[in-house]
């Protein structure tokens, strides 16, 4: 007689060490084997879009900081680009250069967190601390520039809140010199560790056409092998002036599109960001960062969709203006929100421990999923 078995529903989250915030995953499991995963979101819903309708355009910027709180510069960047498009204003060269440098530094900082938490989810706690130490350098660069460490409110419509600090260029170069060896160390300690490879290679394979259909962007899509990067695809700001490569998943140790590829794409992207910073840092033109800031920000009627490459993928702002001081509608296309959708698809047939590895490799930030 066959034993009567039933599946077990395992609630992972909202309070769980590795759901990266307050995500709840409803796992249907047979022992350790996952049959289905249903993500439940909304625990961190802060009504950003409703708030934005009651704010003037500059007042929305501090709120955008809090979407993807690990990459606040990128969020500011996307929003100001959208509003500048709506206003149709020209930005001084100096501002553009500083914005690019900040965005790339932020990309490194954000990827460091992504890599660190991905490692920590799998059990390697030491790289986590090493990488947070390196992130600290970047945060102190930001703090030196605008006074805040996480939620910068740095990029303003038409300019920047502060000009860079006189020491900024020197310290950024110092950081780059310090940073390159730490990537090598990271690769020795974690990336090519056999156990780490075993845990991530061949796990959570995301085929390229599924990735596109699910709208995945950023390292998730690039990990699947498509060299899609908004910086190259739809160059905003001055990204078309810099040389950089778009690293893609090659299936070096497993299959193309597995967790390891998504992880390794981030490692390689940090290197490319360093390259962009190196190209930009010596060429910052002179100028005034406040000169183009409009006195009164009142865009004409119209709609705009502007997208930037945030560390987590394509961040889009869809803004409708009705000609008032407040935006009529602000919709955020949050990369993590879209990337998380694919979670259910990836986890099928894996084990409980793999759910963590997959979630870590998707690198979600609940702040921008729930908005």
């Amino acid at each position: 007689m066959a034993l009567k078995t039933e599946t077990m529903v395992l609630n992972m989250g909202p309070q769980h060490p590795s759901t990266h915030g307050v995500l709840r995953l409803e796992l249907e499991a047979e022992g350790e084997l996952i049959l289905s995963v249903k993500p439940h979101i909304g625990y961190l819903h802060r009504c950003f879009e409703k708030h934005a309708e009651a704010m003037t355009y500059p007042q929305v910027i501090p709120y955008t900081d809090r979407l993807d709180y690990l990459a606040a510069m990128g969020n500011n960047f996307g929003y100001v680009i959208a509003v500048e498009k709506l206003l149709g204003i020209q930005i001084p060269e100096r501002v553009e250069y500083i914005r690019v440098i900040m965005a790339e530094l932020q990309r490194i900082a954000s990827h460091l967190v992504a890599i660190a938490t991905n490692g920590a989810d799998i059990g390697a706690l030491t790289p986590f601390l090493y990488l947070f130490r390196d992130r600290e350098y970047i945060l102190s660069l930001f703090e030196m520039t605008c006074g805040a460490r996480m939620l910068y409110n740095y990029m303003w419509i038409g300019g920047l809140s502060h000009d860079i600090h006189p020491d900024f260029v020197r310290k950024t170069k110092e950081f780059i010199n310090h940073f390159r060896p730490t990537v090598v160390e990271l690769n020795n300690l974690l990336t090519f560790n056999k156990i780490f490879i075993e845990r991530t290679a061949g796990i959570g394979i995301l085929p390229i056409d599924t990735a596109i259909n699910f709208g995945a962007t950023g390292p998730v899509l690039r990990g699947s092998g498509l060299a899609f990067d908004v910086r190259r695809e739809d160059p905003y700001s001055i990204y078309n002036r810099f040389e950089f490569e778009i690293p893609t998943g090659k299936g070096l140790v497993g299959t193309v599109g597995d967790c390891w590829d998504r992880y390794y794409v981030r490692v390689l992207e940090m290197e490319q960001s360093v390259r962009i910073i190196e190209q930009a840092i010596d060429n910052i033109p002179e100028g005034d960062v406040h000169s183009a800031i409009p006195k009164r920000i009142k865009p004409p009627k119209g709609t705009v969709y502007a997208r930037v490459e945030n560390p987590r993928g394509e961040l889009g702002y869809f803004i409708i203006s009705d000609g008032n001081l407040n935006p009529f509608r602000v919709k955020v296309r949050a990369p993590s929100f879209v990337n998380l959708e694919v979670m259910g698809e990836l986890c099928k047939g894996h084990l409980v421990a793999d759910v963590i590895a997959i979630l870590g490799s998707l690198d979600i930030v609940l702040g921008e999923i729930d908005r």
Partner: protein, 176 residues
């Protein structure tokens, strides 16, 4: 790579009545208005035809157009009657690099839009969000639940312009 006028003409030839208008007055990309019950067919055509290959839906946004008649109720809040709710589809093609913006409008009192779930799977959560925030019913969506708000939120659809904060949620006072 096609410009919006060409896309509009091609779609007009293919679908005729379902394609309503082309709005070029916007500061950025033009918007093609479409019949709300034909969107899934047009989506499938855009995705599958070799001319377009629009394989990616960047974002699907619900919008409350707030173009109905506004009456103030006793609390001084506008109640909107009539008018439309809209859904914007920002599409692009990863291989051919062109971008298309589609817009469908639907009646505010009975908002129904065909789901594009089967065309672009990414629309799953976007449509749930639009339903959650605006109450737009996406026909043939397999799992149309609230997504950001609690599942038992009964006070209406928060991003509508005439939304009123409820006083209580499950016996708890809402502002704190």
């Amino acid at each position: 790579m096609k410009n919006p006028e060409e896309i509009f003409e091609l779609l007009k030839n293919e679908f005729g009545e379902a394609i309503l208008s082309l709005d070029k007055e916007t500061p950025t990309e033009p918007i093609i208005s479409i019949n709300s019950l034909q969107i899934h067919k047009i989506g499938a055509f855009l995705r599958d035809s070799d001319e377009f290959k629009v394989d990616s839906l960047m974002v699907l946004s619900g919008v409350d157009d707030a173009n109905g008649t506004k009456i103030k109720d006793e609390d001084g809040v506008d109640v909107i009657n009539g008018g439309t709710l809209s859904v914007y589809y920002h599409l692009h093609s990863t291989s051919l690099k062109h971008k298309i913006t589609l817009k469908v409008s639907t009646q505010r009192e009975d908002p129904k839009v065909e789901s594009v779930y089967n065309v672009w799977r990414t629309s799953d959560w976007h449509e749930r969000e639009a339903f959650d925030m605006f109450g737009i019913i996406f026909l043939n969506h397999p799992d149309l639940r609230r997504i950001l708000m609690p599942y038992d939120w009964e006070a209406g659809y928060p991003l509508r312009k005439d939304y009123k904060n409820p006083e209580f949620y499950q016996g708890m006072k809402v502002p704190y």
